[in-house]
Symmetry: C2
Subunit: 324 residues, 2 copies
């Protein structure tokens, strides 16, 4: 008998990740294609549908052996209508009926959710979440994203904006300007960009010839990686930058935990590759700011699925929808 | 045919509220009894069971016409075992098997949850929540309590500590000491006690002969009501105290909304009786600190059920459990 496959799609602004995944959450085959955002993004869905068919043919797997497509998309999604909002960097209009178009192009059942939510579902199913029913996933990348699972389901909220952890206000007064229109968002101090911003501020306000300042002078910029590399060599200025980032992250995550008391808060994304250098300091602040009963029960940990979380979680959407 | 009734119980440290409620959430009869915390609280459950039977007899309603008892209790509850933790002010041990004891004494099915969660369920069912699936309820009383509903269900979290909104850290450094062991909890600045504490600080730090200081000198204390009364007369010092409270509440509630994007955040409890004097200022801060998409969709409002929210929500637990 042909094994039943799920298709997981993780749609990004530059590349789209795809995978065939079985009902046990194992990846059979994964690949990537370029996201073609030209012509108001009208080729995006067609390219995905074509790529799935080509790959099935290449692997000799009949289309009838595919149960459906789950898809993580970069924007808030209306689950009932399958419309994605404000994915303007893909070239799409403010409201784009992604699910309908995907179903027409693939001739398969399609389920859409936000990409950060899919990553959270992936970690719940096969990653660090360990099938816990209450889980918060935070992605520290260029921005800060989040997905929240309570009682085994993603929280979407009234208009799909639940889980916007990056836009928790961390600096109520005098914070950096955020793309969202507010100031002082967690994203402005805890993303890769935010870390660099804090470092730049430290360089400007210091009179000493710090290592950080030297790197800045040499390269005309510093990167988050530079800062973590310096900190690993016990550079005090770099460590202070990380302390500040860890304070904001620890406080925000503790308040999330005070609110939701999840089994765990899982930290992923590029910045999380700093590992314990960052995590230990975040945890110290987390334990300081968490309600004692919460501090005892909610764990902080690193994501384990890396880039695969999105496609695995997207596939889970199909499995869940079809009650398999 | 005898109408089927639900029993809602709201167990408090001083009084216990009880009500018979029909399947439409209408209160048939409500009454209160004193909570007898003597002898390690061993009379509490017996008194409740007796009172239900007496009231049924008085109303001429057969016990067979009662479907079950829902109960809100002041502490974290394990839903699977029906054990309540740390309800020490009732005289009970750290772990008290409340559901089992209640079922034995009443000979009825019993469902227990935390009291703040019951209030939230009550507001969802028959109050300001308007049957919304995503709802946050905040109770501003002597302390600050909370109940969180996502996808139509209460969030309990790993150890029943979800919804501890009062222990969100609002003042990370140099905050007041909280009963929970931390410092700077929302409860220390936004409860009735917290408001008085902020006022006391304002009195101490001012050189002027303020109205607030005069009241303090006269009565040897100020109450939250004094402060709101003064503010209504446009007293600038009292208004500044309320501005500070509103800043902390607005920020904490905005961050809750940035996380969960609920349909609404409903504010109840004694302090909420200050009405728009407080609410307008909380809303101003809320709108400043909420992610734009959240600010547009999540509403702030006042609870409408008052003291009945707890018994109505407790009755809902039974209705929900029996899928009625």
């Amino acid at each position: 008998m042909t094994e039943k496959w799920l298709v997981g799609v993780d749609l990004g602004g530059t590349t789209t990740k795809l995978a065939f995944i079985n009902l046990y959450g194992e990846i059979i085959e994964k690949w990537e294609i370029t996201t073609d955002t030209s012509k108001e993004g009208k080729n995006i869905v067609t390219n995905i549908a074509k790529s799935i068919d080509e790959q099935l043919e290449f692997l000799g797997h009949p289309k009838g052996g595919v149960l459906g497509v789950g898809m993580g998309a970069p924007g808030p999604v209306n689950l009932e209508t399958g419309i994605i909002y404000g994915a303007v960097n893909l070239g799409w209009k403010e409201e784009y009926p992604l699910q309908n178009i995907m179903e027409a192009e693939t001739s398969l059942p399609v389920i859409i959710d936000n990409d950060a939510n899919c990553a959270a579902l992936g970690e719940m199913w096969k990653g660090a979440g360990n099938e816990a029913k209450d889980l918060v996933c935070v992605t520290l990348g260029t921005g800060v994203g989040g997905g929240i699972i309570t009682n085994g389901s993603i929280v979407h909220g009234k208009s799909g904006a639940a889980g916007e952890i990056g836009h928790i206000t961390s600096v109520p007064n005098g914070g950096f300007k955020c793309n969202c229109g507010k100031t002082g968002c967690l994203e402005t101090v805890a993303s890769a960009t935010g870390i660099v911003r804090i470092a730049a501020q430290a360089i400007q306000s210091s009179n000493r010839e710090t290592e950080l300042a030297a790197i800045f002078k040499r390269n005309n910029k510093v990167s988050a990686k530079d800062i973590f590399d310096l900190a690993r060599k016990h550079d005090q200025d770099a460590l202070r930058v990380i302390e500040e980032v860890a304070f904001h992250l620890g406080l925000a995550l503790a308040n999330l935990a005070n609110t939701l008391n999840p089994n765990s808060i899982i930290i992923g994304g590029g910045v999380s590759k700093a590992g314990n250098l960052l995590l230990d300091r975040v945890r110290m602040n987390f334990l300081k700011f968490a309600f004692p009963r919460v501090a005892k029960s909610t764990e902080l940990g690193l994501a384990t699925l890396g880039n695969d979380a999105g496609v695995i979680g997207a596939a889970w959407l199909v499995k869940n929808k079809l009650s398999l």
